[in-house]
Amino acid sequence: MIDLNDKRLQQFGYLGLRARQVVEGFITGLHKSPFHGFSVEFSEHRAYNPGESIRHIDWKLFGKTEKLFVKRYEEETNLRCRLIVDGSASMLFPNIKSRPEEMQSKYQFAVFLSAVFMYLFRLQRDAVGLSIVTDKLEEHSNAKSTFIHHQVLMNILQNHLSTLPEKEAAQSVLIPNMHQIAERIHKRSMVIIMTDLFDVNHNAKDVLNALQHFKHNGHEVILFHILDRQWEEHFNYDNRPYRFIDLEDKSTIKVRPAEIRDLYQKKFAELTHDIKEQCPKYGVDYVEADIQDGLEKTLLGFFAKRAVKTGRS
């Protein structure tokens, strides 16, 4: 007997439901999939040549018109998608409980975003794999397209959300794990990375090298740079003393925000500038995602841009 009051069931339902709501809310309003297709597509009729196999004859057509034509299929690249979620300590920022769940922290935003992509790929019967990176490759599943596999992945995401409060925040070692994933997954996958780009040994060159590794192996790469612009980019704190804690290495510093705002903003801009500039050159789709914008706004911008890029309306 299913206990409908079970909190986990309710939450699992919510994640799935929210993903569905987002997808059905506007993405299905796009005429065609923003991603290239899956399985095989019937692309043309060819006149039947006597002597060849009759297996592919379009018998329905023969029944209606007495014409013998063979159905030909164009196998589009089977879309395999790899979702990579940065599950490190810095992603737990800003942890504002008064906000809707998906906007409370960068991590929650990334999880909900992953759920939306998963739901979308499930509708398209595409294969999806999930990797969650902390100080190690915490989660890494193969890409499959079965319904059960999608459910399992959704469950994994939900478990990560449910255990968030007691989560032992880990330092991010994103770059080596990205290289590892690039080697482990099928060639020519679509790789969607969701990260705040705060790595313990972070520098733009290493990130770009890792992205290039994916490209080199024939993957299409989409980088969602997840941030809370109000706090992380604009440094919009009141002018009173604050104690800032580095979520990655736990070091603390007491400071008046106004005193360091200009310097902070300059350093933050430097940090992201190279990646923003270089991604298009490497053929990586860079998407800045402010968690306060919410899922719909972020995805609407992304899909609109993608529709233009792929020539699909």
Binding site: S43, E44, K64
Partner: protein
């Protein structure tokens, strides 16, 4: 708006045309042809005056279809100065046709 070519007018409308022409060889019963049909209509509107875009029903116009050895439908032939300069067989996304079309101009 895509023009409907026929066996009778093909020589005049396509082969003697001053501007490039693309011809979609199709049939009513063919699913992929119906899929590509709206794209052809759109291209007809977008390139009006620059390229003549039209369709030819292979069932009703077997002469031209035979002349160009059309065995697969949809087949799209790209004509310039009365000669076939490019060909696309099967239903493809609009951008692929546009790329070929731009090469004609």
């Amino acid at each position: 708006m895509a023009i409907h070519f026929t066996d009778a007018e093909f020589e005049k409308e396509v082969l003697q045309s001053d501007i490039p022409v693309i011809v979609d060889f199709w049939a009513e019963w063919c699913g992929p042809c119906r899929q590509i049909g709206p794209i052809i209509e759109e291209l007809g509107q977008e390139y009006e005056g620059k390229v003549k875009v039209g369709k030819l029903d292979v069932d009703h116009n077997p002469g031209v279809a035979g002349q160009f050895g059309i065995r697969n439908i949809p087949t799209i032939l790209f004509f310039k100065n009365g000669e076939v300069v490019d060909k696309q067989v099967g239903a493809v996304p609009k951008r692929m046709l546009e790329e070929k079309l731009k090469n004609l101009l």
